[in-house]
Structures are given as C-alpha cells and as structure tokens.
Amino acid sequence: MTHEAAAAAQPFVMDTAFWTATVIFLMAYAIIISEKIHKTIVAIFGAGLMLVLKILEQHEAFHLEEFGIDWNVIFLLISMMIIINLMRPTGVFEYIAIKSAKMGKGEPFRIMAIFAVVTAVLSALLDNVTTVLLITPVTLLIADALDVDPIPYLISCALASNIGGTATLIGDPPNIMIASKAQLSFMDFIYHLTPVVILMMVFYIFAIKLIWGKKLKTRDELKSRIMSMNENEAIKDPVMLKKSLFVLALVLTGFVFHGVLHFQPATVALFGAGLLLLLSKTHEPHHILAEVEWPTIFFFMGLFIIVGAVVKVGLIKWMSVQVLELTQGNMFATSMVIMWFSAIASAIVDNIPYVATMNPLVADMARQLWPDLSGVELLHHPDLMPVWWSLALGACLGGNGSAIGASANVIVVGMSEKAGKKISFMKFMAYGMPIMFMTVAVSTVYVWLRYYILKI
C-alpha cells in the first residue's frame, strides 16, 4: 500500500491523539498570528511536541512526504537563496534598479510604473522577500533624489511583488509548496498562472496611475540627478556576474524542462547552487551559507511536522469533508470558496502555514471525490486542477490584503520605518485591500472562463 493510500485508509476517530494534535496545531497557529513569540520558535517547539508526544513518529516526520518535511520545498528555497547570495555582491541588482529609474527619465510616475513591472518580473523569478530587499533601498534613494514621498513607491513595490510572485512555481513560497504537493511543473504554472498575472499587472498599472499618477511631482533640476547616475558603476565584479548569469540561465532552463526531464525543481536548483559555489572559487562558504534565511527554513520544517501530525490524526480529512459538504461537490463552487477563503485568510495569517494546511486538505478532498484513483492520476484529475490554481491565486494575492499578509509587506513596512517613514497598518490596508479585491476578482473571472466555460 502506498503512503497516500495508507493516509486515505487512516481510521478516523476523535481519540486522545486527535485532540492533542488539534490543540497543539490551533495553539501554534494562534501564537503565530498573535506574534507574541517568534513564528520560527513556535513552529520548532510545536513540531518537537508532536514528536515527543508520539503523535508523529520521527521516521514519519523526517522521511515520509505525507506526514513530514517536504524536502523538495526546503532544498528549493535554500538553493535559490544561495544563488541570490552569491549574485548580490556583483551589483547586478543595483544595476537593474538604477537602469530602470533612468528608463523612467526621472518622471515620478513613469519610474513607479517601471519599478512595479521590474519588481513583478524579479518576484516571478526570485522570491518576493529577496526582490523587495533589493528594490526597496533603491526606491528610497530615488525618492530622496526626486524629493517625493517614498511611501507610494514602497507600497506599490510590495503589492507588485506579491502579484508578480504568483506567476511562477518559484515566485512565492505557496506556489513552491503547491507544486511539490500536487506534483505540478514549472511550465504548468507558466501555462496556467502567468497569463492571468500579466493581465492583472495591466490592471494594476492603471490602478496605481489612478491612485498616485497626479500626486507625484518633482522639479526638473532633480530629474537630472537620476539621469546623471551611471548604472555601469554598479557592477563590482563583472567576472562573477557572468558566471552568475550563466548559472541562473541554466537553472531557469532546467526549470522549464524539469517536467520533461523528470527532475524535481529542487534538484535543478541544488545543482545550480552547487555549480555557482564551485565557480565562485570561494574558500569561505561560511558567510554565503550563513546568509541563508535559516529562520524561514526552520519555520517551514516545523510547520510541515505540525501539519503532518494533524493530517495523521485525521483533522485535515475532517476539514475537507466540511468543505465538500459546504460546496456539495460542485467543483466550481469549491474553486471559488477556496480562492476567496484563501485570499481573506492569507490577508490575516501568514500564507505559508495556511497553504501548509490547505495542501493536504485539497489532497484529502480529492481522495474522497475519486477514491479509486491515486498518485498523479488523483492529484492531476481534470476537475481538481482549477482547485489547485484557485488555491495558488487566492493564497498569493491575498497577501496584499494587509501589512502582515505577506513577508514582502512586512519587510517593506519595516525598512520604511527605519528610514523614518512609517506606514501604518491602516494606510497599507487602504491601498492593499482594494488591490487584493481587484486581482482576486480578475482571477475569479479567469478561472470561471478558462476552466468552467471554455474548458482549456
């Protein structure tokens, strides 16, 4: 019997283990939302509790995909972080940002629009947090140069990064997790999500034009500050830059073909990280590895174990039954409920723990709908595919709903405050919430038209 079948056949009894696991799960999520204790510590301690109370065996947590750590997600994240950490000192990101500002010819709104597009594209290729970490400092510099309020630029940048990140498998952690669980390839995301994200970006540019277009003004003599910047000075290490771009191109090509070549995305990324480390000829890998965001990585590992435990005791299955009862097996209704619920939930909760919970829930739902199928046949059932896409769209785009909805927002608000420009929770929401509703509305129409009317 496969592990999946074993999970499906798991007897569903509300025994002591069920309630213990449920209480630990709910407590952990409540504390994560309250931010009283750092989320990584909560995740690690919660995972430790699940193991020490024998709700989950260590073997299940470390070696079974169904109940434990999804190493595909972990190694994909670590590898991409290593590649970016090696690329960063070359100055390529400063180059891109300064070049973009110059393309805007010093016009405040033009720069905002170009930055939004560049942020979206970078977010699709790197993760959102990395992108905003690279774009925000330059945004603040440009705003100072033009003597304009940086806050609209920063908010726009965070929102664009969450929209852009939705477009690809590697763009946003929820997509990485969904791809691994549902065994979807990089190209699946390109076919199904990229088109709607491009459409959203067009709407988004019109929206920011409407919101900020008239308010942003500068003086002509300040524009020349931007135009006199020489982006070529940003490149500090041209040799390493060439190596990095080569490896990045190789990794992206690897992602495009990983489905055909039967490689997991993590294999492609790990190979790229190893190759770039080798090419960098560094004798001190310590600092490159130290810069990996270990708190994020351990947050994922802890969450996988906590969620694995509630999958094992049957809580997630019980939840999936409730969802199916609510939608009465109507798949369009299920997609819509999942998309909108995900969007609202992701605005309130970090979307990573949310998707960690929803992934097994959707899989359990599929098992109940099609008990005879298993493996890829089950996960890729034509009626289930729009549900995965709805989950991805809702969870990623919902992040725009509030200042704490996505890690990118938290980073931007934090950096802005450090620079002496506080973005209040309500101020972020005043822009983020309408943009979230707009993008989820576009997604609703897209999913409905593409999967339930045109069926393509």
Partner: protein
C-alpha cells in the same frame, strides 16, 4: 597606572533632549584641556547625572546617512549636496535618537591594559571612566594612552614598578 591617572575630568556633557543642531555646536566649541577647540564625542547624562549614552562624531555621520544606503552598494548613485540636504533634515533629531546607548566604559581603578583591551576590541577612541559613586568622572582618550605608551617606551624605568 590606572584609568583615573590618565583621564581628563568631565567638563561638559549633553542632555538627551538636546537637538543634534545644538549638540553639534556644543561638540564644536567644547573645552579640550584648556582650549575651546572642540571634542569628537561627549557623554549624554540624564537629569540625575547618570550616563545614559554617548554621542560621538560617528553618530553624527550616521544621522545623515540614510538607513537604506547601508543595505546595498549605492554610494556611486548619490549626488552633490546630498549630505547637506540630509544634515538640514537631521538637525532637529534629538541626541537620544542618535546616541550610542551601550557605552563601553571603565572603572576609575581599571588597569591601563584593560582600557587598551576595550579600545581595541570595541574600536573606540574614548572611554568614559565611572567613579566610585557610579557617575561618570572623566574620559580616557586614546591619545593620552598613546602618550603613556610612548613615555614607557622611551623611559626604561617606567611601568608596573612605579
């Protein structure tokens, strides 16, 4: 030789609520030995006379240095007059906003080597010297430690025996 033997007794200090503009003026005209030639740093004392921080030249530089500059290599993309613009904006910040709060200090009776240890490990050029009453008694300057060392090098009889 101990810290108290080389320190310059406290003459001037800053208050936390003072603006950077005023603080800059005090630093510029403060007494150093007998002359009013300015100092590169002064302790910050609260109303009770307790030292709560230290404001040095580096802190003033940090006050005009935008936080985002520290995050990426953006030095090549700055413009003429940027520091002056930032200085005008920073003038109204409070001393308490910019001062170093965790001050490396020594006791009156700390040995000279302990002082050198702090100066090298924490890369500071002046060490507040705390008196028996827990309040700051004076400041030990790197320059005066340097003179003590040169005296010892040149005078064979100098050192612990004295």
């Amino acid at each position: 030789m101990k810290a108290k033997d080389l320190m310059i007794p406290l003459q001037e200090y800053l208050k936390p609520e003072t603006t950077l503009k005023e603080a800059a003026n005090i630093l510029r005209t403060a007494k150093r030995d007998e002359e009013r030639c300015g100092v590169k740093g002064l302790p910050v004392l609260d109303a009770a006379g307790k030292m709560i921080g230290f404001l040095s030249m580096g802190d003033i530089l940090k006050a005009v240095f935008p936080s985002y500059m520290g995050l990426m290599n953006l030095g090549d993309f700055t413009w003429d007059g940027m520091v002056e613009d930032m200085a005008k904006k920073a003038g109204n910040k409070k001393v308490s906003d910019m001062m170093t709060r965790e001050v490396i200090s020594v006791e009156e009776d700390s040995s000279l080597m302990e002082c050198v240890d702090h100066m090298l490990k924490h890369n500071v050029k002046r060490l507040p010297v705390i008196g028996k009453d827990g309040k700051i008694a004076g400041i030990l300057y790197e320059r005066d430690v340097f003179f003590a060392i040169t005296r010892a090098m040149l005078d064979e009889n100098a050192g612990g025996a004295r």
